[in-house]
């Protein structure tokens, strides 16, 4: 019988099907961090059971970590306590641990792929919803709750009903200034934040085929923002070239065997999806959000829609615009910007800093803007320096912080103050997400760069000289 890519990977990992219940799904790789794991370890201790496969679990500290002076002790005692718990639990159970100060430390969804932990055809979970990132490699990857973290530590399995399948096709040539982030925000704006709930998404079409691994990770990362459990893209030459030779990637004979397996990982021509959508890539503009969920986005040159034009209740819509201080019919162009954040598991990779730098080169940071440029890992940080990007950024009045989740969810000191506006390359513009009362506009690194140098929301295309 014909199968989708998702079917192939899922079915390969089903240990047992429960009549009238979930599948018992074997998990190849488990990524853990300090926030969602301590109570899971406590559960293991209470039950008196151990970690079944410690070598399949990898721990990194990211959510609670400062992005300056990482050599100093973490000042917030609660954060420090959580980081200590991750370290001691990892040591106690024999799990590899990349804590603050470790060369491999960084955002869990950035370092996983960089070290080859993320592989095509694998099942990958983490107590973090943006685990969907790893689907870019043709893996089934999704976020889980702490009870499930405990489950995977104890038995390397989770119990899940098989989701429905959706394929989203985007074909055509992307316009100047249109990045993978815009493609994702465009899709979410069309589907809303619940449009893919219950589904696992496969992205297909030449827009994704022509996309770099970094770009594919950005797109899959945001799958969760339309409600999907995850998103995935079939592995191809781009994927294989990225995976080959990384520290935890298969080597020698194991690589040959893996490669043969990777090549089977694509949707059969006549496989059927529960839902299929197609969009024209050439119609996508640089995007920006104006509301308090990632579905409330639009092309940057448009005006904020009236409540009557959007799905959902008018009262909820009005609440959202009130929080943002915006009005129906407003243009976003020219709106004030106080903070610019480039980073997070969505846009903290090297390609994002290349894009940002390309636009600020030869320009200067606006005085009214505080810019937080936060690489997702030490590898990204090194690349920024080695490629000469740091020199350009410094010349333009910017500085670089140290790797971590930073202002994406403001668990550390990087908080946008109440009432202030941030153009953010992260993934969520929920009320208070970047600090209590903070107002977040989600956008690509190019839109962030345009805001950073002009001090207001600006269409990056007006600053790209090549544009005819």
């Amino acid at each position: 019988m014909s199968k989708t890519l998702f079917d192939k990977v899922w079915d390969t990992h089903v240990v047992r099907k429960i009549e009238g219940g979930p599948d018992v799904l074997f998990i190849d790789r488990h990524l853990i961090h300090e926030v969602t794991s301590p109570v899971a370890f406590l559960g293991l201790k209470t039950r008196g059971i151990s970690v079944l496969y410690p070598d399949r679990t990898f721990a990194t500290a990211d959510h609670n970590t400062p992005t300056i002076n990482q050599h100093l002790p973490v000042a917030d005692p609660l954060s420090a306590n959580q980081l200590d718990a991750l370290e001691s639990n990892s040591k106690e159970y024999g799990i590899s641990y990349w804590g603050l100060g470790h060369q491999k430390n960084g955002i869990v969804h950035v370092v996983g792929p960089e070290y080859g932990i993320t592989q095509p055809g694998a099942t990958i979970v983490c107590g973090d919803s943006h685990t969907s990132t790893h689907g870019a490699f043709g893996a089934i990857a999704f976020g889980i709750g702490t009870s499930e973290v405990e489950m995977v530590l104890a038995n390397q399995c989770i119990m899940q009903p098989k989701p429905k399948k959706m394929r989203i096709n985007v074909n055509g040539k992307l316009g100047v200034g249109v990045t993978p982030k815009d493609v994702a925000l465009f899709i979410i704006s069309k589907l809303t934040t619940s449009g893919a709930t219950g589904y696992f998404v496969e992205y297909a079409g030449d827009v994704f085929e022509n996309m770099s691994m970094e770009g594919r990770m950005t797109v899959c990362n945001l799958s969760i923002e339309m409600g999907a459990r995850g998103g995935m893209i079939a592995p191809d030459e781009t994927t294989i070239n990225y995976v080959k030779g990384r520290e935890f990637s298969p080597k020698g004979e194991a690589w040959d065997k893996a490669l043969a397996y990777y090549k089977t990982l694509k949707t059969d021509a006549d496989a059927v999806f529960d839902k299929e959508l197609t969009f024209d890539g050439s119609a996508i503009e640089p995007m920006i959000t104006y509301g308090t969920n990632p579905g409330m986005g639009m092309g940057i040159s448009h005006d904020i829609p009236d409540a009557a034009q959007v799905e959902g209740g008018a009262a909820t819509y009005e609440k959202s615009l009130n929080y943002m201080g915006f009005h129906e019919g407003d243009s976003m162009i020219g709106k004030p910007v106080d903070f610019v954040f480039v980073g997070s598991c969505t846009n903290g990779r090297i390609e994002d800093f290349r894009a940002f730098t390309s636009l600020v080169k030869g320009r200067h940071k606006a005085d009214n803007v505080t810019a937080w440029l936060v690489p997702g890992s030490h590898i990204v940080e090194s690349q920024i320096k080695e490629e000469g990007l740091l020199d350009i950024l410094t010349e333009a009045g910017f500085s670089l912080r140290q790797p971590g989740c930073s202002a994406c969810l403001a668990m550390n000191d990087d908080k946008v103050p109440a009432g202030k506006y941030a153009v953010s390359t992260s993934n969520r513009n929920f009320e208070g997400r970047q600090g209590p009362g903070a107002r977040t506009m989600l956008a690509s690194p190019l839109v962030a760069a345009a805001a950073a140098v002009t001090g207001v929301v600006t269409d990056p295309r007006t600053l790209i000289e090549e544009l005819v």
Binding site: T12, H13, V15, I18, E19, G20, P22, V24, F26, D28, V35, T36, P38, L42, G43, R47, I49, L52, Y53, H63, N64, N81, Q82, A85, A122, G127, G143, I144, G145, T146, S147, E148, M151, A154, N155, Q156, M159, P161, P163, T193, S194, T197, G227, R229, P250, Y261, N293, G295, G312, G313, A315, T316, L409, M411, R428, E431, G432, R433, P436, G437
Partner: protein, 198 residues
């Protein structure tokens, strides 16, 4: 973590008819720094519930003494956003045993089932009926019967059936969890792992 068995819950309900209530509202990130599962109820809906100076916001429903009960009725797409199970812990710790909505986000629904909060998905029409009934009379009682898989407005007797997987239903009725099950098939898991393609 084991939780109390869930059979029949009869209670008044707290209405929160806002759509897309995300987990950052249910429990903001800055309250996720604990290493034990205690005290999260104090910060349930923190930023909607309290002013910056920690005084309660009078217009938020949890601060309105007229509304109380073990059932929270939320708007469509309840629990979107983060995988943080802390959101479900906060709901449970505050004293809710059941959340009713016309649509739930996936991970939040799973997390609820894993910590002993029953997510009851009703039709948009029935959700409206519940909101209207509570609005008309905050003493309105709902009955959630897990065995029968029904939710009933007791005053009028109007009821609707809801879905739950037989496996999860059995777990909640008996207070079991998935780890109990997985531990019982450990040998099978190890054998499976030895024969994976990678």
């Amino acid at each position: 973590m084991a939780y109390d068995k869930f059979e029949i819950l009869r209670s008044t309900a707290v209405p929160l008819p806002i759509e897309n209530i995300d987990t950052d509202q249910i429990i903001p990130a800055r309250f996720l720094k604990a290493t034990e599962r205690v005290g999260f109820g104090d910060n349930l809906f923190r930023d909607w519930r309290y002013n910056a100076d920690n005084t309660p916001k009078a217009d938020f429903v949890l601060n309105n003494p007229v509304y109380s009960g073990k059932i929270l009725v939320g708007g469509k797409n309840f629990g979107s956003g983060s995988s943080r199970e802390h959101a479900a812990w906060a709901v449970y710790d505050y004293g809710f045993r059941c959340v009713v909505s016309s649509f739930f986000a996936d991970i939040f629904r799973n997390n609820c089932l894993n910590v002993g909060v029953l997510p009851v998905q009703v039709s948009p029409e029935f959700a409206e009926k519940i909101f209207a009934a509570i609005h008309a009379d905050p003493e309105t009682e709902l009955e959630v019967n897990l065995s029968a898989q029904t939710i009933t407005l007791l005053k009028t007797g109007e009821k609707e059936a809801f879905d739950i997987s037989p496996y999860k239903k059995d777990n909640m009725l008996n207070g079991f969890d998935d780890i109990d099950y997985l531990q019982s098939i450990k040998g099978e898991i190890e054998e499976f792992a030895a024969n994976l393609p990678l």
